[in-house]
Each structure stands twice: as structure tokens, then as C-alpha cells.
Symmetry: C2
Subunit: 351 residues, 2 copies
DNA sequence: AGGTAGTGTGGGAGCGCTCCCACAAGTGAT
DNA sequence: ATCACTTGTGGGAGCGCTCCCACACTACCT
């Protein structure tokens, strides 16, 4: 750890000015060195770097932010009431990706909860005051006004899970469509013919895409799609129970269930067991997310894994690029700012 | 959301100066109102507040930080390689508590990962530069130099899970001792006599306390403590498997296992099943944490629940108090800065 | 020789606040 | 009426940076 970290307790941290004095140069020159400007001679640069090292100089972020009108901070906005999202590995894995990608930069990560109305009001103020250089949005509902606010304020933002096919914001997503297809194709290959689908909350675009994938996989295998086999859920365990009960009532002959999340699958599994159906003998079960629950269910649950950590990394990459683009009034290159990452089916004993 | 949030796009956000002009007062007066100083007449205060409202004024944090030499930010330091900690609900629940308690204040929450050496070096610089007003430390190992660094830099800090009984830092913890006792007493009351304990990582003080609770519960019930029934684990699933296998080899007659974490219990459960032992008929199983896994295991796992969200809240309370204490060179009241919260045994079918 | 670029450098101005000193006005004791 | 406080207020100084203009110096053309 920094051996010079505690030096200079007598009178606070060293300033740019002191570094300049020590190196025998002007304030501007030190600033240039610190910020990596090329217009500094090698000799001068070396002298300044030596002085920085000797004094253990660390720039004062507040001063920099004030003078340069940027914050070097990005916010991760968490719509907290979504406890589902929050408690699942989803969140921590994404955080891991975000953190690892961020550790190469000087950016700091702010965690902002936008659950209650009061918190949202505060967030709006926050953003209006331009207290962050960029925003990471996760798990946003289709009708959330937040993304539009960001666009309006011209704050760079990246959203995980686009709200629609026409998402105007930069976005990172996993291949929900392909993931669902792989799940259904897997069940078909196991000889299942009556495959039901318990959907996620359909206000979430990804949930819709999973339904699309389910339908297309069946169709392309030459099956007719029975819309009655598609039962709406909401990603929760309780939703899974409810949907499963309904499916069993209407279609006692189903031999497989593809659920839009692992907890939903867990809820469905309970109902199946209570109805005397064995998994996978009578009914095969496939979930989505490959969470810890999937590994610990009995039998362990086949599930679609999303590369969440990678998604976190991709979000940061996109966001940093947007921020950099905007810095010197760059050519607002409206390139493809949509990243979609592949999923992977993890086969376990439930199917 | 703030209707005035977007106003004044012509020329950036309003400043203190502009508010002052609008309210017909001086800069100092506005500052006083903003910061809630009592030395302002009611009439003036009202006028200023009106001006603030009309202009949609939001203070510039950077300027404030620079002038007042504080940051209004606290850091939550996450020792990231501890994936266990990170992925468990522990983390997100704590975050929830932290967030909810913080939403009443102007403080912002920084998430800092201190996994790799490079990240730790950066963190040290961060702290040395006093870029946060306080630090929340979670899941710190006994030999981590971080807490001492914080003490040395005189940065207010609160640690969750004290490193020892003599933890110098303010700390919040759940009652590991009592939690373990309640688990063992529960097993005893169910008529179990050969109760094994798979410990957590013993470098963690809380894991030691759980062992203490295990021992005392047995003793006070009149049982002799067989040290051979205590098998070291490390909170992981793999550790649980290893420990359980070892226990079965040495003591085939055990009829109950208390594991120091739910995932450890899950690992132990697998080994028990493979060995042909039925849960709970042959061997009762109790875990710790009451995580999602506990609910979804088959059979569902009896587990000790910690009030994690509350712990997060308590940490913030302590930290804010420490920061406030330090602000006007207050009387460094070395009161009891140790909070211990009660646990609760959640009974399920595994015992 | 004089011009015209380029390079590197110093330092003034200013970012938006807080802190604090100065001072006006009011209040009550002498 | 005088003095001593108290209360409320205005505004200068300064926090530590970045930005940018000015200037010295060099190099290469006419």
C-alpha cells in the first residue's frame, strides 16, 4: 500500500502548486503532465513525475470537477423496489463486471436507489445538477420516465435490457430470444411435445423476446403453437405457482415447462410436486438465469445462463465511449450502440 | 419529477449568486438558508426559499466540497474476491438497508472494490486524498490492513463483523453466538444428541463466535462437547461437502449437523444424501443466513436469520454519527460504538 | 536579414461554493 | 444618552484545479 500515503499530515495534502514549486515548473505544466497532455518535453515530464512521487500528490477531485465541469463519476441507478432483481445474483454479477471494467479508469461508481418517489425526485435533481458524467440503468420498465429524462438532459446513459426493439438509448442485453429458443429446442430434443411457457413480466421487453423465442422454436420444429400453453407470470416464485396451477388445470397433459426465471421455475416445481408430477419423469422443467437456486433445487434445474458479468463490462465500455465522445463536442457518431451477448444452456437433471 | 428540472438550459444551472440576486439578498445569506443555519430571519428565509424554488437551484457539490473540505460521500468498500459474500443476499440486503437509511440525507454512496492489489492501492490513494467522509467496511478478514489505515488517516469507519472482541472500530454485528445457540438448542429440543458443527472460515470472528455458541449450548444442556464433532469449513459449499464427508467417516453416528452457512449446509446435505442418510429422519440439518437457497433446498432448510437490512441501517447510523462528531472538533466521545442485533431461527423441514 | 510557423511553458482568471470578518440595526442595562 | 451585547446580513478571500492567452524560443522558409 502507498508508503507515502500518510506523508504531509502537517498541513493537509500537497497541491498542484506545491508540486510545481518542487519540480521547478509552472502550475500549468504540472496540470498538463497529470492529464497526459503530449505538449510537454520529456525532461520536464520526468521532473514533474518525480515531484509527484516524492510528495505523494493526489489530485483533488472536487477542485478538478469544479474547474473542468465534469465529475469523473458515473451512477448506477437501481430501481430498488424490484427486490427480485436486487437479491438475485444478477445484480452482484453485473456489479462485478462493472467494477472490474471500471478499475482501469479514474471513474468512480455511485450507487443510487430510485425506489420511492422521494428518491426519484432526488435523483432527478441529481441528474439536473449534472453531478455524474454518465448513468447506468438496469432493469427499467417500459413506462419509466427516467430514460427520457436522461436523453433530455443530454446525459450519456446505457440501459441494460432495452425497453423495446427501438430503444433509443445505448443498450446491452443478452440474447433473450436465442436463450428461449435453446431452452425449447433442448426440450424438444428430449422428446417433449407439450411444452408450456410461463412468461416473465411482459412489460419487460426481454420477457416478450423469450416468448418470441419459444414460439419460433416450436414453429420451426414443425409444431403448432398453442397459445393456451403460454401463461403470463412476473418473474416471481408466487407467479410461478399461480401460473403452474392454472396450466395444470387447463392442460393436464403438458410434459414440459419452460419458465422465464429460475424462481418462477421453483414455484412451478412446487406445484408440480404437489400435483404428484415427478420432475423430470412426468414433466421436464427449464428455468432462466442459472442462479444459485437452480443449482440447489431438487432435482437441479436446467437453466439458461446469461453472461451477466460480461454485460456489466459491456455497459461500462459503451458508457465510457459515450462520455468520451461527448467531451470535445465530438462528431455525435450515431453508430450501433446496441450490444447483444449470447446465452448458454446449462443442462441439469430437471430435463 | 421536478418540473423545473430542465429550466435554464440557456447558460447552465443557476448559481448561489443568481439565487441571491433574485431574492435580493447577499450570497452569504443564501448559503446560510441552504445549510439550515438558524441565524436567518423568517422573512429572508422565505424569500430565499422562493427564489431557490423558482430557479430550480441545486447546489454544486464540487464547489461545496472544495470550499468546505468535505465530500458528502461515503464509501462502501467491498473486498470483491469474496465472491461468496458478494453473491449472497447478504450483500444486497445490506445495501438495501444502507440505501434506505441514506435516502434521508444528502450523502451519496460510493461503491469501491478492493479485490486486486491494484484496486487496493487505488483505494489507499483515495482514502489518503480524503475523498470520502466515511467508510463502510464489510466482511473484513482479521489480517486486513485496511482498518488500521483508516484509523491512521482518522477517517470515520464502521465495520460489519468486528475482527475480534477488541475491535477498535465502530462495528455492527448480528449475534453470532446467540444465533448458534438457538440452532443447537433447537436441535437438542428435537431430541438430537450427536450434533456436529461445520464451522465457517475461522479467520472470521463471527465464525468463532458461532463455535462458542455451539459449545455453550451443548454444555448448558448437560452434554459433553466432543471436539471431534467440530469440523472446520470455510462458508463454501465445497467446504461443506469436504467437512461432511470427514465427519461421516469419523463419526458415523451423528444425528444432526449445524452448518455455519446455508451453502455449507447444502454441500453437507448432498454428501449425506449420497451416503444414504435421509434428512431429517436420519440426520437433521440446520444452516445459517436464511438465504434463498435455504428456502429452495429439498427439504427446505432450517436456518438462522440475521437482520441484515437492519445491520446496514445501523452501520449508516453509526457512521453518520461519527462523521458529525468529527465535524466541529467535537468531544470525541468514546461511547459504545458496538451494535449487536438479534438473530432469529427459521424452522423448516430439515430439522 | 526578416518573416512565419510551430513547440513548450508560465501564470491570470475563474469555476461555485463556505468561511469569516465587518458592520448595521435593534435591545436592554447603566 | 451611552455602552455593551445580540441578531441578521453583505461580501471579500480563498479552496485547488483547468483553461487559455501570452510569450519565449527554435526551426525553417523566403
Amino acid at each position: 500500500m502507498a508508503s507515502h500515503g500518510v506523508r504531509g499530515r502537517s498541513g493537509g495534502r500537497p497541491t498542484l502548486e506545491e508540486v510545481a514549486a518542487r519540480a521547478g515548473v509552472g502550475r500549468g505544466t504540472v496540470s498538463r503532465v497529470i492529464n497526459g497532455s503530449p505538449r510537454v518535453s520529456d525532461a520536464t515530464r520526468a521532473a514533474v513525475e518525480a515531484a509527484v512521487e516524492e510528495l505523494g500528490y493526489v489530485p483533488n477531485t472536487a477542485a478538478r470537477a469544479l474547474a473542468a465541469n465534469r465529475t469523473d463519476a458515473i451512477a448506477l441507478v437501481v430501481p430498488e423496489p424490484e427486490t427480485r432483481f436486487f437479491a438475485e445474483p444478477y445484480f452482484s454479477d453485473m456489479l462485478k463486471g462493472v467494477g472490474s471494467e471500471l478499475s482501469d479508469t479514474e471513474m468512480q461508481l455511485l450507487l443510487i436507489f430510485a425506489g420511492s418517489d422521494r428518491e426519484r425526485e432526488r435523483l432527478a435533481q441529481y441528474l439536473a445538477a449534472h453531478r455524474v458524467d454518465g448513468v447506468l440503468l438496469v432493469s427499467v420498465h417500459a413506462d419509466d420516465p427516467l430514460p427520457d429524462l436522461l436523453t433530455q438532459l443530454e446525459i450519456p446513459a446505457v440501459i441494460s435490457g432495452p425497453r423495446s426493439a427501438a430503444e433509443p438509448l445505448a443498450s446491452v442485453d443478452s440474447d433473450n430470444y436465442g436463450g428461449a429458443r435453446s431452452a425449447v429446442e433442448h426440450l424438444l430434443s428430449r422428446g417433449r411435445g407439450r411444452i408450456a411457457h410461463i412468461t416473465g413480466h411482459l412489460a419487460v421487453y426481454g420477457a416478450q423476446r423469450r416468448v418470441d423465442g419459444y414460439r419460433d422454436a416450436l414453429r420451426e420444429a414443425g409444431h403448432e403453437v398453442d397459445e393456451g400453453l403460454i401463461e403470463p407470470g412476473d418473474f416471481t416464485e408466487e407467479g410461478g405457482r399461480r401460473a403452474m396451477a392454472e396450466l395444470l388445470r387447463r392442460h393436464p397433459d403438458i410434459d414440459a415447462v419452460f419458465a422465464a426465471s429460475d424462481v418462477t421455475a421453483a414455484g412451478a416445481g412446487q406445484v408440480l410436486r404437489e400435483a404428484g408430477r415427478r420432475i423430470p419423469d412426468d414433466v421436464a422443467l427449464v428455468g432462466y438465469d442459472d442462479s444459485a437456486i437452480a443449482r440447489h433445487m431438487e432435482p437441479p434445474l436446467t437453466s439458461v445462463r446469461q453472461p451477466i458479468e460480461e454485460m456489466g463490462r459491456a455497459m461500462i465500455d459503451l458508457l465510457l465511449a459515450e462520455i468520451a465522445d461527448r467531451r470535445p463536442a465530438a462528431s455525435r457518431g450515431l453508430e450501433r450502440h446496441q450490444v447483444v451477448l449470447a446465452t448458454e444452456l446449462v443442462e441439469r437433471r430437471s430435463s
